[in-house]
């Protein structure tokens, strides 16, 4: 790890001023930043610790029914907040399916959104990577790429965004509040992460010095609480990143789907909202054929970026199943294995 100056600002304004200097980086829970510093992928000369900034660790319900979550709220605290998990059960399930209990106690809302891709070549400073070094090339194209993107990729970069939390958030129309050297602004979470272009690798679309201060979910997002699931396929039962995942949320009027919200995870450089599939389901009966067709629509533009054509089939199946589970209704309690494809009911065991 490189040497750095450790700075603990007293206000958001001080933090932004300090972080706007060259080579500075924000430190929240540190679970991604320190990891990347240890392996030499990032080397900030100044580390700005924002965990003690006043007022950023609150969950506030606003008068219009929306909820505002401070950027320093820890992942575990948000997932376990009773009012939050009742209103947004798929978000809680997604949070609880990510990382480990220890990491969730440290990881913050802002840090989770801002976490880097797990592409092995991004994580290896000796490999060529357009995302780390624009113009260097992309070693993943001809390398181990079975977990890479199947949507929204270009040969500039085929990496995925690894967050579970972001997947239901994108489907629910979450908004990110940002404070920066040029003032404040807001961005839809679904476009916080830029897709790669012909010459650009994409990635996190914040300007240097900008800081996420809060995340907002609109009031209408809680209308899906009764039929919300997150499903995450991984290569071991627990404590693993998603190979593919899906958030499926339905607003039901009797047997009819009044409105659907759908997003896929680990398939693209951003959480992938499937708007066309959502529109397709509107007004349909909650039946297996409709769900299978919606999933086909969500993946219709998918193409393999390497040895990963299987991810398209898997994502179609995982989404179909997530929609089917959502139609059955949100479980009373987050399942013992959150978001697991192995258990969809209490009592069954998946761990050997």
């Amino acid at each position: 790890m490189n040497r750095f100056d450790y700075i603990r600002p007293g206000s958001v304004a001080e933090a932004v001023a300090a972080a706007s200097e060259a080579g500075a980086a924000y430190l929240a829970g540190g679970t991604n930043l320190l990891d990347l510093m240890k392996i030499g992928v990032v080397a900030p000369g100044k580390v700005i610790d924002i965990t003690r900034l006043p007022g950023l660790d609150r969950i506030d319900w606003l008068e219009d029914g929306s909820v505002r979550i401070g950027a320093m709220v820890r992942n575990a605290d948000l997932a376990r907040n009773p009012a939050f998990s009742a209103a947004f059960p798929a978000v809680s399930e997604a949070l609880l399916s990510g990382a480990s209990p220890q990491l969730r106690n440290a990881a913050t809302v802002g840090g989770n959104l801002m976490q880097e891709t797990r592409c092995a070549y991004f994580q290896d400073p000796l490999s060529h990577c357009n995302r780390r070094a624009p113009g260097a090339g992309c070693d993943a194209l001809e390398g181990h790429n079975r977990s890479h993107a199947v949507l929204g990729w270009t040969p500039s970069c085929i990496a995925t965004h690894p967050s579970d939390f972001c997947v239901p958030l994108a489907a629910l129309g979450a908004v990110v509040e940002i404070e920066g050297p040029d003032g404040s602004r807001e961005v839809d979470l679904a476009s916080l992460h830029e897709l790669p272009g012909t010459d650009s690798a994409g990635g996190i679309a914040l300007k240097h010095g900008e800081m996420i201060t809060a995340l907002r979910l609109p009031a209408e997002a809680s209308a899906f609480a009764g039929h919300s699931r997150y499903l995450k396929l991984r290569e071991r039962t627990s404590f693993a990143f998603a190979l593919v995942s899906a958030a499926a949320m339905l607003r039901m009027e009797q047997e009819t789907i009044a409105e659907a919200r759908i997003a896929l995870g680990a398939v693209a450089a951003r959480p992938w909202r499937a708007a066309e599939a959502e529109t397709f389901l509107k007004g349909k009966k909650a039946e297996p054929d409709a769900f299978a067709e919606a999933a086909q629509i969500a993946l219709k533009e998918a193409s393999p970026s390497g040895d990963n054509a299987f991810k398209i089939t898997l994502a179609t199946r995982v989404l179909t199943r997530a929609l089917t589970l959502a139609a059955k209704g949100t479980p009373d309690r987050v399942p013992a294995l959150p978001a697991s494809v192995f258990t969809s009911s209490e009592g069954a065991t998946a761990h050997a």
Partner: protein, 164 residues
């Protein structure tokens, strides 16, 4: 510039100069304070050997900057027993053979203490296994670990029952 931090470790207030800001909480405990019970496995958040309680919550000490724990309360494996009386989770690990080589054990025990205070798992073995999934055991002592945590959980709820 040398930073200096104050923290409480196992109930003892300490003031420690930090010559190198890169020091993690794990290295602070092991190399500076001399508490080597907390183990370093992966040093990258993947194994749980370094689990300690920070203000009562379990975290990975290897991914925590020492500078950032200024003013906090840290509990390590050394702080669990009262004199010669083991903490109930420690006793349960011995009773149920919750280890073989023992390298992951301090982390397992601290994680179990954290899990029990979170109170989400109850007596459901599946929830306990999931709640302990941040701790890898190279010797695969998992059946004993689950049995130990279940037993400790049972004793804790019995105690709560009698004291209530």
């Amino acid at each position: 510039m040398t930073l200096s931090i104050s923290l409480s470790v196992n109930g003892e207030s300490l003031s420690v100069p930090l010559e190198d800001p890169r020091t993690t909480l794990l290295d602070l405990l092991r190399e500076h304070i001399g508490l080597t019970g907390t183990k370093k496995g992966c040093d990258r958040g993947q194994c749980g050997a370094c689990t300690v309680l920070l203000d009562g919550k379990r975290i990975n000490a290897c991914l925590t900057l020492a500078a950032s724990v200024d003013g906090t309360d840290v509990t390590t494996i050394e702080g669990l027993a009262t004199g010669d009386t083991l903490h109930p989770v420690q006793a349960a690990f011995i009773e149920h053979d919750g280890f073989q080589c023992g390298y992951c054990t301090p982390g397992q025990i601290m994680s179990a203490v954290g899990l029990l205070s979170e109170g989400d798992a109850g007596a459901d073995p599946e929830r306990i296994r999931e709640g302990m999934s941040g701790n890898i055991c190279r010797c695969a002592a998992y059946p004993g670990i689950t049995a130990a945590v279940l037993d400790a959980q049972r004793r804790q709820s019995e105690n709560e029952g009698t004291s209530a």
